[in-house]
């Protein structure tokens, strides 16, 4: 770290964006930037170098695509093998190895990242969020977020603020992932099981248990998202939700905390 600059770890999959961001942070603001394409190489890097702040993307396209191809081919097992590596894994590793490091979540903010952002805020206590496309065209917001992150101050980009939780609500994980059996069912549906028998086989619970849990899971879902329409077919609704948020339910960091 230079006298005024920070030592920044940038975990971002886009070469183009990582290149220009690193250049800007170094040339304009005098920081020292180390770029990693994804969190899989992070542990080794953290053991050899010290960082003040980490700027972390949420989803990594190459990891996502590779995992999705395996998921669609029915090759993903919800137990015993590594699930999807996302920015949550990076934040989790940082929290374990370098608790004092500042972390900035850097994302465009999309529907399939909603639950990740909630998890980062509620479970990993990340308080700095910066949009990759803030709309202002001002690059300074990322630099500002990076600068204040190690000082325990907060910065939330107005563009990303809607993704964060309503303060009075129960945590998403307390609603959806509290019960081990329900977690297995969510994951079974996220890998693509739709019929009760398939879900039961993958989750390793009986058909009856899966059938009994389904109305409860739908009620959980309604508590978490009261905007969902009332349905007479809870299994269909729950399966639909699992399918559209599979990146979260099959997240490795989430599974390590909620096995």
């Amino acid at each position: 770290m230079s006298s005024s600059g920070l030592s920044i770890l940038l975990v971002e999959d886009s070469d183009l964006l990582a290149g220009s961001t690193s250049r800007e942070l170094e040339r304009e603001y005098g920081h020292d930037v180390t770029w990693l394409r994804d969190p899989t190489l992070m542990t080794a890097k953290l053991s050899e170098q010290r960082f003040d702040v980490a700027i972390v993307d949420v989803l990594y396209e190459h990891l996502n695509r590779e995992f999705d191809a395996r998921r669609l081919a029915g090759q993903v097992k919800i137990r015993g093998e590594q699930l999807l590596i996302t920015g949550l894994t990076a934040i989790h590793i940082l929290g374990q190895q370098l608790p004092a490091i500042g972390t900035v979540v850097w994302t465009i903010g999309e529907a399939n990242r909603r639950l990740h952002l909630l998890y980062a805020y509620e479970n990993l206590e990340t308080r700095n969020y910066c949009s990759k496309s803030p709309g202002t065209g001002d690059f300074g917001t990322l630099e500002y977020a990076a600068r204040i992150a190690p000082t325990q101050q907060q910065y939330v980009d107005p563009v990303l603020n809607p993704y964060l939780p309503v303060t009075r609500a129960r945590r998403a994980t307390d609603i959806l992932l509290k019960d081990e059996c329900k977690r297995a069912i969510w994951r079974a549906m996220a890998v693509g099981a739709a019929g009760r028998t398939d879900i039961a086989r993958i989750a390793r619970y009986s058909d009856r248990t899966v059938g009994n849990r389904m109305p409860e899971m739908y009620q959980d879902l309604l508590e978490f998202d009261p905007g969902l329409p009332p349905s007479r077919a809870p299994q269909i609704e729950v399966a639909r939700y699992a399918a559209s948020n599979w990146q979260f339910f099959l997240d490795e960091a989430v599974r390590s905390m909620y096995p």
Binding site: V33, T34, W35, T40, R65, T197, P229
Partner: protein, 413 residues
């Protein structure tokens, strides 16, 4: 630049990125038809045992079986009840495919054979209506007529070359059973077997009709997909590529290039909102985020709401999206520099409040039919909500409050 950047530069290939590129496909290929057909069989198959129960039950009552034969046929009918939930849950022979299809046909052959064995001697095939339980196997022929049972090179086309001789064989099988039961074949036997064959043929032709439905459904899916692709292709051409060209031309004049870049950002933002609002459940956080992003460079967002995982039904999403767009646009147009956005959920209602520091406007604007705010209020009221103007405490700017029910009534959809 730090170590990580030096270690791996852009030009170096990353071995972990050796994934084959995504290949999109918009062709009327067999796989789409086959997938649709298999899905259709899976949803219909449970009806097969229901039909077979009716056939066996009717046969037990009306056909000339020996006394214990009648009891066996009734027992078989009862046994078929067990197959219904099994087939319903996707364990039917056509859902499983492969060797299970052969078992299914073997089951049909055996049951028809058993009906001959249990018939009183000299009675099988002596009734012009049909042989006992002849239409038991009609469901098998119905499913076979559209199920992709042949290996890939023979699928879809020319399958009749294989299916018609098989049907003919079944006619021969009925004749064989008649001969076994009666000791000879009479003209009546031939006619009865032909009528029996007719029932199977009807099942087969119904299957062909369902097959056509599957092909039509697959082609319709493809048409919709093609339309979406064409729209997206047009968008890429008319908005993205042409603006990029314009930016390249304007590179010597950074101010003009910047303006074009902003135009491109707006076009992409609008397109993203359009795609977002096409869903039946709209994630509210994403919708707000997109709208805030569009105006973030123009208006200072001094307060934005937190919405977490909340989604809304499409009509409400459309209303909220339109309100955010119109109200923020108006604020920017009339000289506001800062905006506060709040959104609250209580008692089954969404309340969206947008306050700006612009010059404000009279409440009568909401009653002016030529204004967009009037139309917005009418849409809100149609959905069971409202749009009202509240007085500003410091007497500058405007505060508009949109309310809408969280769930839309059927009549308002």
């Amino acid at each position: 630049m730090g170590d990580g950047m030096a270690e791996r530069t852009v030009s170096e290939p990353d071995p972990r990125l050796s994934i084959s590129p995504r290949v999109r496909r918009l062709t009327d290929d067999e796989s789409l038809i086959i997938d649709t057909t298999k899905y259709m069989v899976g949803t219909l198959e449970w009806a097969g045992p229901v039909f077979q129960i009716a056939v066996l039950f009717g046969s037990a009552i009306y056909d000339p079986y020996t006394s214990y034969g009648r009891a066996i046929i009734l027992g078989l009918a009862a046994g078929h009840v067990l197959l219904i939930p099994l087939y319903y849950r996707g364990f039917g022979p056509f859902s499983r495919g492969g060797v299970w299809l052969a078992f299914y046909f073997l089951q049909c052959v055996l049951i028809n054979g058993l009906q001959e064995v249990l018939s009183r001697p000299g009675t099988y095939g002596n009734h012009i209506l049909c042989v006992p339980g002849c239409n038991y196997s009609a469901t098998a022929w119905l499913f076979l007529a559209f199920y992709p049972w042949l290996p890939p090179p023979l699928r879809i086309r020319r399958r009749e070359v294989f299916e018609w001789p098989l049907l003919g064989l079944y006619y021969g099988y009925f004749l064989l059973l008649c001969w076994v039961n009666n000791g000879s074949l009479t003209w009546l036997n031939l006619k009865t077997c032909f009528v029996s064959f007719g029932w199977l043929l009807i099942g087969y032709l119904f299957g062909k009709a369902i097959g056509r439905m599957c092909v039509a459904a697959a082609r319709k899916q493809l048409e919709v997909q093609q339309q979406n692709f064409a729209e997206f292709f047009d968008f890429l051409h008319s908005h993205v590529k042409s603006v990029i060209t314009a930016i390249r031309i304007d590179l010597p004049d950074p101010a003009r290039a910047e303006e074009k870049l902003k135009e491109l950002e707006t076009a992409i933002g609008e397109y993203r909102v359009e795609l977002l609002l096409a869903r039946d459940q709209v994630p509210l956080a994403t919708l707000f985020s997109e709208c805030i992003r569009t105006f973030a460079g123009v208006l200072e967002m001094t307060q934005t709401p937190r919405l977490g995982g909340l989604t809304v039904e499409r009509p409400i999403g459309l209303l909220v999206g339109r309100s955010l767009g119109d109200l923020l646009h108006n604020a920017a147009k009339h000289g506001a520099t800062a905006v506060q956005i709040a959104c609250d959920l209580s008692a089954g209602q969404i309340k969206l409040v947008i306050a700006d520091n612009g010059p404000g406007f009279p409440a009568e604007v909401l009653d002016d039919e030529s204004r967009s705010l009037y139309r917005l209020r009418r849409t809100a009221r149609d959905l069971g909500g409202d749009l009202i103007m509240s007085p500003q405490e410091n007497c500058t700017g405007s505060v508009l409050t949109l309310t809408a029910p969280l769930h839309v009534s059927r009549s308002a959809r």
